[in-house]
């Protein structure tokens, strides 16, 4: 499986706390049996309301790969359609003050790292990108640092288990889970409720 150690590219700032998954991908776009095409609809209603002023609509940010957000990003619905939409728009990693847990877990399962940094650091990173959208950033999961082409350096955090999963290419847990099927059956045999009713 693919190791994810370093992600380089331009950044895109998206400010605001508590941006929920209904805003990332409104429910009407969940009416589908594949994730294809979701990228076109990322933040659709927010973009419509901001009439071209939303970062996802600004040409300078097209082709960006690192999304920089604030606190509690991805709260609300468990829909994996939300990170899928962001990823299919082109984002390969997220930097934020904090992430809602299901959203974070969905990103790990997709191979998209989410790292956190102090509130002030995130805000200054957002300002730095806004001032220079051409700035190239490199997120290094080995050193847990973000380096900017202008000399900017920022420390970030990630739970160690998730970090190791990316570094070693073990982020897609499905393969490991299915190989343990004997241990799973053994555990199941010890659960009293599996034999009731």
């Amino acid at each position: 499986m693919t190791q994810v150690k370093q992600i380089s590219g331009r950044g895109i700032p998206l400010t605001g706390d508590d941006i929920d998954t209904d805003r990332i991908i409104p429910a009407r776009f969940l009416r589908c049996v594949t994730f294809d095409g979701l990228g076109d609809h990322a933040f659709e209603d927010d973009r419509h309301q901001r009439k071209g002023d939303h970062p996802f609509d600004q040409e300078v940010y097209h082709g960006a790969s690192l999304l920089v957000v604030n606190a509690n990003f991805g709260c609300g619905s468990s829909r994996e359609h939300a990170p899928q939409a962001i990823n299919r728009w082109g984002i390969q990693a997220l930097v934020g003050e904090s992430f809602a847990e299901i959203f974070f877990g969905n990103c790990v399962a997709m191979g998209v790292p989410c790292v956190t940094a102090d509130s002030e650091d995130v805000k200054s990173l957002q300002r730095a990108i806004a001032n220079n959208p051409q700035l190239t950033l490199t997120l290094d999961l080995g050193t847990l640092q973000i380096q900017g082409s202008d000399g900017l350096t920022l420390s970030v955090s990630m739970p160690e288990g998730a970090r190791q999963s990316f570094m070693e290419g073990l982020w897609d847990s499905c393969g490991q889970l299915v190989t343990q099927i004997d241990a799973v059956r053994d555990r199941a045999s010890q659960l009293p409720y599996l034999s009731w009713a």
Partner: protein
């Protein structure tokens, strides 16, 4: 780290082993699936040539996309028809039990599993829906997952998980008349914040929860995710056992006795250690209503919409966004705010006791002119029972529409939607921007009794005025 809590015990009991990532491989006792978050998971299974080793531990139903008016097949909405067909085909191929529309057993996934006795104490439960936390009312550890994880559970009956911390949220005392379980959880989220629970399981404890019925406990646990907690639970007790006993999938005979013994053992120990403890008094909780765009932006029905100055600096930006979106003025009382649509239903408040309580207030009254008010039972079973009690007539005579079971306008994936910037009084769980089907639609969350009060007055009103 916590020690001796129900969460710790259930975690340990279901732990298959450690994964190379350091995460725990956790056995999932009950997997619930529905039409929206499963089709891609089945596609991934096929791509990898994987099978489903425990199909009998999964239950499927349709809830999000089903129309609540005309349910004749094929659905007039071709996308809805395509999604339900995909689920039918997937369940058939992998041998998964399916409660389809018209089976008498269909409904919102978090309503049907408890009512059939599938949800039991001490279980781990997962579903591709964040409100899976509902099942914690029974002393289960139940959480929402994404589609790749739905694939993982289908393929292995396990998940890769990190252990959570446990916060005990104690509420003691007697709720005042007109104050409901919904108000309790809205109050908790208001006080602890929408991200206060990140990294935690919430254990709800204290005499207030002990006095609650199972349906009330489900309302509380349902909205744990709105407070940022992945799951919430209440230790099982006699109320839990009385609810489960006799239901279709409940243990019977000798097994019932074994079950109760096991369930009693799984409860948090008296000397359990918690990562955090917070305490509230039931008497301090008013009928609570949201005014903003997150479930944490709640106030008592008697209060005014907070002014920016009254809020901590960190809450002001989202409050500014809320004033603008909601078109509500800071400092103005929430009572008297005109509403357009009133919705009773959802996995938070679409159970029989919710409809009974709402019907008490609708009885003999009339919905105000120009208000669209409708009731959507949480399941076919709830609908059948409500009709047997005549609740449907109470509602329709008062001017409410009476519908078929589904998620409906909680997230509006079916034809039930707000139009333009309509404002709704809603018994559901989320007031996010655009949540109820219109990108500018507005939602005020409240208890079903308060939704009835809003429907009758045409404005936000205090249901306590009808209580002697």
């Amino acid at each position: 780290m916590s020690k001796g809590t129900l969460f710790d015990k259930v975690w340990q009991t279901h732990r298959v082993g450690a994964l190379p990532s350091g995460q725990t491989q956790l056995f999932i006792g009950l997997h619930l699936i529905h039409e929206v978050t499963s089709p891609q998971a089945f596609a991934m299974l096929r791509e990898r040539g994987l099978t489903v080793p425990f199909p009998e531990r999964t239950l499927a139903t349709v809830d999000h996309i089903v129309p609540t008016e005309n349910q004749a097949r094929p659905f007039s909405d071709v996308l809805a028809e395509e999604m339900i067909q995909a689920l039918e085909d997937n369940c058939k191929q992998y041998g998964i039990p399916f409660n389809n529309v018209g089976s008498g057993r269909q409904g919102i996934v978090h309503v049907i599993a408890p009512e059939q006795g599938l949800t039991q104490p001490g279980m781990t439960i997962a579903c591709g829906d964040s409100h899976t936390s509902t099942h914690g009312a029974f002393g289960a550890i139940a959480f929402g997952i994404g589609t790749s994880q739905v694939r993982d559970v289908l393929a292995s009956q396990t998940l890769a998980m990190n252990k959570l911390k446990v916060r005990r949220i104690e509420v003691n005392g007697q709720l005042r008349p007109g104050v409901y379980a919904k108000d309790v959880i809205l109050h908790i989220i208001r006080k602890l914040g929408v991200k206060g629970g990140v990294g935690y399981a919430y254990e709800y404890a204290g005499t207030t929860f002990e006095q609650m019925t199972m349906e009330e406990r489900m309302t509380v646990c349902n909205m744990s995710i709105e407070g940022g907690a992945r799951c919430g639970y209440i230790n099982p007790d006699q109320t839990t056992y009385d609810y489960i006993q006799g239901r279709e999938f409940a243990p019977k005979g000798e097994q019932w006795e074994q079950a109760v013994t096991w369930w009693n053992n799984i409860r948090s120990d008296a000397d359990a250690e918690y990562d955090d403890v917070v305490v509230f008094q039931a008497e301090d909780i008013p009928p609570t209503i949201t005014w903003g765009i997150t479930p944490g932006q709640g106030i008592g029905v008697d209060e005014a919409i907070p002014t920016p100055e009254s809020l901590p600096q960190s809450d002001r930006a989202i409050a500014e966004e809320a004033y603008q979106y909601m078109q509500l003025s800071p400092g103005k009382p929430i009572q008297g705010t005109k509403v357009d649509v009133c919705f009773i239903g959802s996995c938070t408040n679409g159970r029989l006791s919710d409809l009974r309580e709402a019907a008490k207030f609708a009885q003999g009254r009339k919905v105000a002119n120009g208000i669209k008010a409708f009731v959507v039972p949480g399941s076919e079973e709830v609908k059948r029972q409500a009709e047997a009690e005549g609740l449907d007539k109470v509602f329709t005579e008062a001017g409410f529409e009476w519908r078929n079971a589904g998620c409906s306008m909680c997230l509006a994936m079916n034809p039930d939607k707000l139009q333009g910037d309509q404002i709704s009084a809603s018994s559901s769980n989320r007031n996010f921007k655009g949540r109820q089907g219109s990108s500018s639609g507005r939602t005020l969350l409240m208890s079903p009794a308060m939704v009835v009060a809003a429907a009758i007055h045409g404005t936000v009103a205090d249901v306590r005025n009808w209580i002697d």
